[in-house]
Every structure is written in C-alpha cells, then in structure tokens.
C-alpha cells in the first residue's frame, strides 16, 4: 500500500522559470487586476463581442468614433490575465487613432506575438510590448489577441452595429 503522503524523489526546483517571469510581468498583472476602461460605453458607435475558442471566455469591445478617430474605447467580459491586460492596454493605445491606424497597430501587435523581435523598439506599441513574452506560449496567443480580433472585426465593418453597445 502507498503512504498517503510521501516525499518526492530529489529536491524540487523552486525557482520561477524566466519565461514565466517574462509572461506575467507586473504591468500585466496590474492591468489584469485594475483594468482600464472596463465598463459599458453607452455612446458606442461600434461594438462587438467575440469569444476565445480555447476557453470560452468572451470580450466585448466598444468604440466611439468621432470625426474619423477613436474618441473612446471600453471593454467588458472576463478572461485570463493576458486577455484582460491586452484588452485594457488596447483601450488606451487606440485613442485618437483612426480605425485604419488602429488596425495597423493590431497588425504590429500580432507580429510581436508571433515573435517579431524588431517590434520591441516600436514606440507605437507602447506598453503592449510587455506582452511580447506570450510568443513563448503559442496556445495563449489567442488570449492576447482576443480584444484585437474584436477590433479587426469592427474595422472590417462587419461587426459594426452603429448603435449602443
């Protein structure tokens, strides 16, 4: 019979792997726990809800576009730290941009997540660069892109419902 509690053979390596430290940086956890611009946007001109097939988590992205540029951005929904941080950062970085410019940013961000290191020096990405660590965790890239997929759908026009969120 086995003992209900035994010791593992050999000492356990207690150090946190650097890949994890790079993934879960303080900035990211901060956005996760205190997301910016999370809430309903009553005067949204564009809104869409998308779901992450990996986990079923859902994000709703709402934009108010005024005079050709994004005047306000908010999001709702729940998910992991990566998806929440990414959404939170998105709502800050797209302000003042046209939808086109926002899509360009989305393209860059996607490349960053797929390991394009050159983008680490692209200031347009701002704090989004702290999410570069996700590139080492391929199954989690969908998390980081969830809010951005919403943006892309909105940019394509297909998701715009022109009314309230």
């Amino acid at each position: 019979m086995i003992e209900p509690r035994s010791t593992t053979p050999g000492p356990i390596d207690r150090e946190i792997p650097s890949s994890l430290n790079q993934l879960y940086q303080e900035v990211i956890l901060d956005h996760y726990r205190k997301p910016r611009n999370k809430g309903q946007l009553d005067e949204a001109t564009h809104a869409i809800t998308m779901n992450n097939p990996l986990c079923g988590d859902v994000i709703e992205l709402m934009l108010r576009v005024k005079g050709g540029s994004i005047a306000e951005a908010r999001f709702l929904g729940r998910g992991c730290s990566i998806s929440q941080a990414s959404a939170s950062m998105l709502t800050g970085r797209v302000l003042g941009k046209s939808l086109e410019q926002a899509l360009e940013l989305s393209g860059k961000f996607t490349h960053l997540l797929h390991g394009d290191g050159a983008l680490l020096s692209d200031d347009d990405l701002g704090d989004l660069r702290t999410l570069a660590g996700v590139s080492k965790f391929p199954v989690r890239i969908k998390c980081a892109l969830l809010a951005w997929n919403c943006l892309e759908e909105l940019g394509d026009g297909t998701g715009a419902d022109g009314g309230s969120g």
Binding site: I2, R5, L29, S81
Partner: protein, 435 residues
C-alpha cells in the same frame, strides 16, 4: 523508431513481460508506472506529472503491445471473411467484446455495441431509441451536472421531436438534489439520463437509487459511465439501468472507441442507427433487413485495432483488480484532499469529503485564472486541465466560466501530489500572492 523507443523505456518493456507482478496481489506502484511509457517523459525539463486523466488516460504497454501485434500480424477486415487473417481479426474483435462485456457487468456480449466513444453511445440512443420512442409532450430528465455529451444529443432530440428536457438541480456541495429529482419525475418522464460520476466535481451519484425511482415512474434510464468505467464502478447488473455509455480512452484504452451497453430486448427492438456494411442481413434496392444485435448497430468497418486495444485495457484493469485500484485511488484522494485544504486561497468545488467522490478535483485559486494556472504548472511539467470541462451549465450554476481541474488515476503517485502543491505555491508567487 519503435526500436529506439523501446530501448529508452527498457524498464517498461520488462514490466510488461511480467504481468503477474504488476497485477493484483502486491500493488507495486513503480512497476505499474513503468507500464506506461509516456509517464517517463519530461516536459519543460521536469518529469511529466499527468493529472489530466479525466480528459484522457494513458495506455500501458500491454495495450500498446496488443494493438501492435494485431497490426503487425493479424490485421484484416472483420466478419464474413474466410481467410486466416480475417478469421483472426474477427476473433480478436469479438474476443474484445467479451472482455468489455465483462467489464460492464454483463454476461451477454451481444449487449455491447462498439461506438466511437461515450458521446456516440449517447447519440446512438438519442437517435435510434429516441426518434422511435419520443414525441411531443414527453419529458427527458437530465441533471445540471451533465457533460455536454449527455446534454446536447437530448437538446437535438428535443428539437426534432418537441419533447421537453427537465434538469435536476445540483446542491452547493455538488451532489444531485434528489428531492428536486422526485419533483421532476412524473408520468410524462420517458427517460432519465444521468452521469454516474461528474467529470468536473468527481461526485459519484447514487445511480441505483436514481434508476429505481425512474423505473418506479415508468421511465427508462441511461447512465453516462465515462468517468466511472475507468475506476471499475461499472456493473450494469447491480445498477439496474437500461443503457450505459463509456469510453475506452479514459480507461487505459485507445481513442476512437467506446461502448454502449443496453438490455438485449431494447437493442432488439430499436431500429438501426447508421446504414452500411456489416449491419445488414439482406439488401435489396427497394429495402433491407438488419443483422442481429450487436451488429445491427455497427455499420461500416469498425475501429478494429481500437476495439482490440479496448478489450486488452479491460483485461488489464481486471487483472489489477477493482479493489486494488479503489484502495490506491482512495489513498491518493485522501492525501489530495488533505493537502488542498491547507492551501490558502484555494476553493474546491464538489464534495469536500472523501465519501461519494473520485480523485477528480476542480478548484479556483484566488484570482489566478485557471488557464494562467495551467500555463504556470505546465512549466513544471504538471498537466492539469483548465476550462469548463464540457460542463458549461454546471459552471453557470456556480456562476463561473471555468475551473482548474487535477484528475488522478491509479498510476499517479503521492509524490506527484507534492509536485502539484509546490506548483501551486509557485503560481501564487508569480501572481504576487493569491487573494
């Protein structure tokens, strides 16, 4: 390649050559682990700690080797063949049916229909029995803890027939509310379909009781045994149910195969399920007649090698012995419960005591999202599952969207509990503490 792999897992090969030792009498954890080649794999520089057994179990050498022998020496299409390979393949296939029948607790192998898995077994009943027997106004009683595979087929049936689905409530402790069950059961109830063991909570439901009350109300019963069969809780004669569904890949067997057990009279009455080769008696352009059970329900070339492996898995478990498995898993369960209770910020769903549960543990860990937790543990080689576990309505019931789930099997070791707890401590550190 095969040769290289064998050299690497030399201990495993040895273990497979002395089955009597690994089987029954003295339970030798090391010899049992050595039977499972994948358990000696490393992940991210750490030994694999495989705690995702409720999703799919691993296969022992006995099963791998039996299937390999089948493929290297015996393969041909089954049934109706005169040549030697075909006869051997048929004997291997039908022999496996006898082993799986024994595992299910029936003496009549014709009561075992091979399917792709538990999911298809439920779909088979919904389609063959359901379409023939269910109409508008009829009710099917399910529970709020059903796996999507024992829920969506009934939703589809309801869409086709207009029948109504009723759902037995789940208590805060994660057990079925049997008073609610009594309220729902009535003269319109035609079927009660209920899981034997919850794949998220580990709850072992009182299936005998559930079946008896259903029968008293005049309803048939389908028990989803996907999470019970691996632990040898399956005994259809004792349970008294009418249908029982289970999967090979959760009980040390191959993927792509499972079984529906049903009472002979039911199977004989039911119309066929899919059409094609093997399931016919005579085919004319104008219409056809059907083969005897179980073949009536097995259209087309079956998963022969999968079935052969399934049979070997059933024999492997029988050789280990249900008591030995229960006692080892019981010890693991006790130990895990003790350790998890000590962990700050960890909230366990489902039964908090040993009784009435298996070694499947769903939990929340502070504000660490289950997927983040799984990513972190994976860096230590620990495989747990994060998500809704195909139990979205149960998640809704708890007001959550996912849990982290660690599910143990008999080949897990107490040492792996330590590694898990250590991984949880590391996750707390990564997240700067858990609330």
């Amino acid at each position: 390649m095969a040769a290289m792999t064998d050299t690497k897992h030399a201990t495993g090969v040895l273990a497979s050559e002395r089955p009597p030792e690994a089987a029954g009498h003295g339970w030798d954890p090391a010899a049992i682990r050595a039977q499972f080649p994948i358990l000696s794999r490393e992940v991210n520089g750490h030994p694999l700690v495989y705690l995702d057994n409720a999703a799919s179990s691993q296969q022992p050498l006995r099963v791998l080797n039996r299937v390999e022998r089948y493929l290297r020496e015996e393969h041909a299409n089954v049934h109706r063949g005169v040549h030697r390979l075909s006869a051997e393949a048929t004997e291997a296939y039908e022999g496996a049916r006898r082993s799986v029948a024994a595992h299910a607790g029936t003496r009549d192998p014709a009561e075992i229909v091979f399917t792709r898995g538990a999911t298809e077994a439920v779909n088979l009943v919904a389609s063959s029995w359901g379409d023939a027997s269910i109409g508008t106004g009829d009710e099917i009683v399910l529970t709020k803890m059903e796996h999507h595979s024992n829920l969506v087929p009934w939703q589809l049936l309801a869409g086709r027939t207009g029948c109504k689905l009723r759902f037995v409530d789940v208590t805060p402790e994660g057990t079925l509310d049997l008073d609610d069950y009594d309220r729902l059961l009535g003269r319109r109830s035609r079927l009660v379909a209920c899981t034997h063991v919850s794949n998220s909570l580990g709850t072992v439901n009182p299936v005998r009781e559930i079946v008896d009350r259903a029968h008293a109300a005049g309803a048939l019963t389908l028990i989803d045994g996907a999470q019970a069969a691996p632990h040898m809780l399956t005994d259809v004669a004792k349970i008294g149910c009418d249908f029982y569904a289970f999967s090979s890949h959760k009980m040390c067997g191959p993927t792509g195969v499972g079984a529906l057990w049903a009472r002979r009279e039911l199977l004989e009455e039911m119309p066929p399920y899919q059409g094609g080769g093997e399931m016919i008696s005579e085919v004319k352009l104008e219409g056809s007649s059907w083969a005897k059970i179980p073949h009536k329900f097995e259209a087309g070339t079956p998963n022969i090698s999968g079935v052969v492996g399934f049979g070997e898995a059933a024999r492997f478990l029988a050789d280990l012995g249900s008591e030995a498995i229960a006692s080892h898993e019981g010890a693991l369960k006790r130990a895990v419960l003790g350790r998890l209770r000590e962990i700050q910020g960890l909230h366990l769903y489902g039964p908090r005591e040993e009784r009435g549960r298996t070694a499947v543990f769903s939990f929340a860990y502070g504000d660490v999202h289950p997927h983040d937790l799984s990513t972190i543990l994976d860096q230590r080689g620990i495989a747990i599952r994060a998500g809704h576990h195909c139990n979205q309505p149960l998640m809704d019931h708890y007001g959550i969207s996912s849990t982290a789930r660690a599910s143990f099997y008999f080949y897990n070791s107490p040492g792996e509990i330590d590694v898990l707890c250590d991984g949880l401590a590391m996750a707390a550190e990564v997240f700067g503490g858990v609330a």
